[in-house]
């Protein structure tokens, strides 16, 4: 059955199930860095170039462990909020998320666009390139207090 635009819109208004379409999610393969979304979006710890990569790795671990959702900063400059990632049943703090913090990965999964945001369910980490953005050479540790001073 071919749906007319009006009929399709009516079905959506009623909450009726529509046939599978692009609006239900799109399979993509994307390469980018697993980032700490709080520090990236808030800017409280520094500019976007400083709160990624090796400079921000320690803080990214703390943030993920504390429940902050991770994102994938794609090569297209878009941030994809990771809802789930292969091997973890949480959007933060799982072992996979912690192991991949600051890593550049190629991910295969489903993209959902909602409310102007990108949500990604990573079904497979195709390639883990490791930490490739060695920006600690430029920025040091961001923020410096991410590595606590040992108590005397």
């Amino acid at each position: 059955m071919k749906l007319t635009p009006i009929f399709a819109a009516s079905m959506l208004a009623l909450g009726l199930a529509a046939p599978a379409s692009a609006s239900e999610g799109e399979r993509i393969q994307i390469t980018g860095e697993i980032i700490d979304t709080w520090c990236y979006f808030s800017g409280v710890m520094g500019g976007p170039d400083a709160v990624v990569g090796s400079a921000h790795h320690t803080c990214a671990l703390w943030c993920s462990a504390g429940g902050i959702p991770v994102g994938l900063l794609g090569e297209d400059g878009e941030v994809y909020m990771v809802l789930k990632i292969e091997g973890d049943d949480q959007n933060a703090s799982g072992d996979t998320n912690l192991n991949l913090a600051s890593h550049e990965i190629t991910a295969d999964g489903m993209l959902y666009k909602r409310d102007g945001l990108n949500y990604l369910v990573v079904e497979k980490v195709v390639t883990d390139h490791g930490i490739t953005n060695l920006n600690h050479e430029d920025y040091g540790v961001v923020p410096g207090f991410a590595i606590p001073e040992p108590k005397k």
Partner: protein
Amino acid sequence: MIKPVLALLALCSPALADQSPLPFDLGGAFELVDQTGTARTQADPQGHPQLLFFGYANCREICSAALPMMAQVADAVAEQGITVTPVMITVDPARDTVDNLGPALAQHHEDFIGLTGTAAQLQVAYDAYQIETEEVFTDPEYGPVYAHGSFLYLLDAQGKLLTLVPPVITPEAAAGIVAKYTQGQS
């Protein structure tokens, strides 16, 4: 014939129609206790949409960002005539007791509702939203630190999930999402 179609189209906001559905089935019934000791379910007794978060009052991590953001969102949409109730379900019932929840959450917003309950009651709510919690370490100053799901959930007055709100976007952006779904509901 044309009138019903137009009415249906009017119900179907273009902003809501042109997007993906949630990729999982979240939400459901629960029965907990608020900071006054009153039983409360997933439905808002006042008939308002709700912004729901799972966390704990003593949290120094994501909750310290999410709870103030929820308050800011509630205030921002109130200026548009929309009343949204901020609700936190605790993942730390040992410390978030009926007596402790109220003062801690009132620091963020006077309308904040804190919910706790027995382990079994809380697990029902966690299961409904696929919330996993885990004690990850103990802060020598502030006590146990828990990892937990951290998205905000926008519910309608009956407690049905409308959409997710990441806790990392600006309060203005979050308020825009909330308003889009709740205009005319409160």
